[in-house]
């Protein structure tokens, strides 16, 4: 089935076409079934393709197929450049492929249940399927330009889906409507994409190709390319990734992206699209490994974002916004991992994060659904008795994200921390550690405020609070199992050693050949150098990570256990609390530093256009009119006047004729 990978993105696209034509006349169940089916078949094909890929011998697990020529560009930079509609599958894209189609399918199923009150379900599923098609194009493209098509396509779908409730207000603090939120996401992404595009053009100029395989070969022997050029390209591409994956300074769109329906938040703004930046950086690992400067910046930005976003998660009161900041923070973890050279850890965390964050979002959606649209966690509480299935799965996801040993997030987060430590970036390691502590804190706070304690809404809503239908809870359970067991594919060697199982880190062996780690095309370095350092240190790191997670949970439990205690703590840290409540005033800062000057400049240009450009055009018209006003005085209507002028003209002509003779 490896030869059919180009078909995988086309299946959801077929769903788009079908639902686009007939969707409005079909009931929700039919539209949903078609949408789910198209993704399910794509998932089946993906599994088949990946299984076939696994049959190939280790080290040459790579498959490429060009189905058509796209851009025959001719001679560029000394080489004949032709960009095909090329698809490829290797261990790296296989992970993404399975996550996107698998989690995507679960979220599609969930959406059928979630959207049952919605009138515009056809539009929703069309967008969702279009997103799947574009995301799969992004994952399967074997060159950067095809990836970029998918990259822009998912951005478009993100915009469409954030603005799905385009006529609804969204954020009271900033006065944003849902349509505004969509626009914000699109424009912020465009800033990053611009840098991405420039980076891509430099790659073409420098290497004469955009194919990943050829780029890797070219980069392996990067003789003629100066280091600053590689760094520049790396940073430009990373800036694009910052936009897509919501990193500082372009993270501002993701919290507002929560304006979209919750399954969208789960699929696009947690599990798949926002991880595209991480995927791209890992995809270009050969480039980044050749430029330590760019890697240092990636690691710094990632770690800073991880900490920064986590702190904002502490005070958010919207259930989805807590998760949104958490997503930004976790993406920071992934970039930090990529930045310290632990690409495998980054992809591992990408995968487990897709499981538990999708589960958290879907669980949040289930809560919102059960409370008839209530999203404010201050008005929730004690819901564990009303929504037992949602609660248990949500709790599993929380344990996974906080990094309790055995759960998926533990293994990936541990690998990232180990990678940071082993690469010598102790500052990054420490920052990530603090971020992990805060993560455990705000996740416990969220779970406590939603599911424990006393219900803080009104009685009417309590009596109506209900568990969601099976269509929604079954995907939750599947994701719950994945959040528990999904990390077992990457158990670090030192841990499996405790049980005498030897090295069973399957994921690592699977991914390592597709990654170029700094200092050579090697497995050990990509792993985070676990086998280089002694096992004692590794065990120590695992212990520290676990203690940090438990500490965060304990701290939050202590504060939020009793009503009112949290308010007292907030008062004690008044200015800090205020700072966090207002999200560091970053939106206001951007408004002041970027938007206001930009608007002022726009107004200046508008005035210039009105006064100067329009003025010139109007002056031309005015000249014609005024001269007409003057010349019309000669048209008296009197025949004898004309005759006189005629005669005068004759005399003038005669004069010249005679003079010429």
């Amino acid at each position: 089935m490896l030869k059919l990978i180009w078909l995988i993105p086309l299946l959801p696209a077929a769903g788009v076409v079908f639902n686009g034509i007939f969707g409005r006349r079909l009931p929700l169940k039919a539209v949903g079934t078609i949408a789910c089916l198209s993704v399910l078949i794509a998932f089946g094909l993906s599994v088949g393709a990946v299984l076939e890929l696994a049959q190939l011998p280790d080290g040459v697990r790579q498959f490429e197929i060009d189905i058509a020529t796209w851009l025959p560009l001719g001679e560029i930079g000394g080489t004949d450049l032709t960009i095909p509609w090329g698809f490829g599958l290797d261990p790296l894209s296989s992970i993404l492929l399975l996550v996107v189609t698998g989690v995507g399918f679960l979220i599609h199923v969930y959406s059928v249940g979630y959207m049952d009150h919605e009138r515009d379900y056809a539009r929703f599923f069309i967008y969702l399927n279009l997103f799947m098609a574009m995301m799969l194009l992004l994952v399967l493209g074997n060159n950067l330009l095809v990836l970029f098509v998918g990259w822009e396509g998912v951005g478009l779908c993100s915009y469409l889906l954030i603005g799905f409730y385009y006529d609804q207000p969204f954020d009271k603090r900033t006065g944003l409507t849902c349509a505004d939120a969509g626009r914000k996401a699109f424009i912020v992404n465009r800033i990053g994409d611009f840098a991405f595009l420039i980076g891509m053009l430099y790659l073409v100029v420098e290497f004469g190709t955009l194919k990943f395989s050829e780029l890797n070969t070219a980069l392996a022997s990067h003789g003629g390319t100066p280091g600053w050029m590689l760094t520049g390209i790396g940073l430009l591409l990373f800036f694009g990734a910052c936009g897509k994956s919501a990193q500082i300074p372009l993270y501002v769109w993701l919290p507002d992206a929560m304006a979209g329906p919750t399954p969208v938040s789960a699929l696009i703004h947690a599990a798949t699209m926002v991880t595209a930046g991480v995927y791209m950086v890992c995809r270009m690992s050969a480039l980044y490994s050749a430029t330590p400067e760019a890697m240092a910046i990636v690691a710094t930005v990632g770690a800073a974002t991880a900490l920064f976003a986590a702190t904002m998660g502490i005070t958010a009161t919207d259930i989805k916004k807590v998760l949104a900041y958490s997503t930004v923070s976790q993406l920071g973890f992934m970039f930090a991992a990529a930045g310290v050279g632990a690409y495998v850890a980054a992809i591992f965390h990408l995968m487990t994060h897709a499981f538990f964050k999708a589960l958290l979002f879907l669980g949040a959606g289930s809560v919102i659904h059960g409370l008839n649209g209530q999203q404010d966690i201050r008005k929730m509480g004690g819901l564990r008795t009303r929504m037992p299935r949602t609660f248990i799965t949500f709790f599993v996801a929380m344990l996974a994200i906080t990094g309790i040993p055995g759960f998926a997030g533990f293994f990936s987060k541990d690998e990232i921390l180990a990678g940071a430590w082993n690469s010598g970036n102790t500052v990054v390691w420490a920052v990530l550690g603090v971020a992990a502590l805060i993560t455990a804190f705000y996740m416990t706070r969220l779970v406590w405020l939603v599911f424990f304690g006393r219900y803080r809404g009104d009685d009417a809503s309590w009596s109506k609070a209900h568990e969601s239908p099976a269509l929604m809870t079954v995907p939750l359970m599947v994701l719950g199992v994945l959040s528990l067991a999904g990390g077992w594919v990457g158990i670090p060697a030192v841990m499996s050693g405790w049980f005498g199982a030897g090295d069973i880190n399957k994921l690592h062996h699977w991914l390592a050949p597709a990654i170029t780690a700094p200092g050579g095309h090697g497995a050990d370095a990509a792993h985070g150098g676990a086998s280089v350092h002694e096992a004692g240190m590794e065990t120590m790191l695992i212990l520290i990570a676990t203690v940090v997670a438990l500490l965060g949970i304990g701290l939050a439990w202590m504060i939020y256990r009793r009503d009112g205690a949290a308010a007292a703590w907030a008062k004690r840290f008044g200015p800090l609390h205020n700072l966090l409540r207002n999200l560091y005033w970053v939106d206001e800062f951007y408004e002041l530093v970027i938007l206001r000057p930009f608007y002022a400049l726009s107004r200046f240009f508008a005035a210039f256009d009105r006064r100067v450009v329009d003025g010139l055009v109007n002056a031309t018209g005015a000249t014609a009119e005024i001269s007409g006003q003057v010349i019309k005085l000669f048209q008296t209507g009197l025949v004898r006047n004309y005759a006189l002028m005629f005669l005068f003209g004759v005399f003038v002509i005669l004069y010249y004729v005679i003079r010429a003779v």
Binding site: K632, Q635, T636, G637, L638, V639, R640, A643, L644, L647
Partner: protein, 99 residues
């Protein structure tokens, strides 16, 4: 008698006609002055035809005569129509054809 006297006569007649057109206000008088101008031209044509022993000048003279007849017919018809409408043939009163 050389052609020069004929040409001088033609020029004098033409000038008289032209000034008549400019000077007079009555439509009929203007038409008459136009006839004088046309005939002055005829005279010049004939004089040159005689001088160069060529028939072309004479042919032109015939054409101009025909044209003059047609012009007079049309012109007089317009003047009559005008008089019926305005009870006057003073061209200075006819200044509607302007902006």
């Amino acid at each position: 008698m050389g052609p020069q006297w004929l040409l001088v006569l033609s020029a004098v007649l033409f000038t008289l006609g032209a000034f008549g057109v400019l000077w007079n206000r009555g439509a009929i008088t203007i038409l008459m002055c136009v006839e004088i101008m046309l005939n002055a031209t005829n005279l010049a044509f004939i004089a040159f035809a005689r001088q160069f022993d060529s028939a072309e000048g004479q042919i032109y003279a015939f054409f101009i005569m025909t044209l003059a007849a047609a012009e007079a017919a049309v012109g007089l018809a317009i003047v009559i129509a005008l008089f019926r409408l305005r009870e006057s043939t003073d061209v200075d009163e006819l200044n509607l054809m302007k902006w």
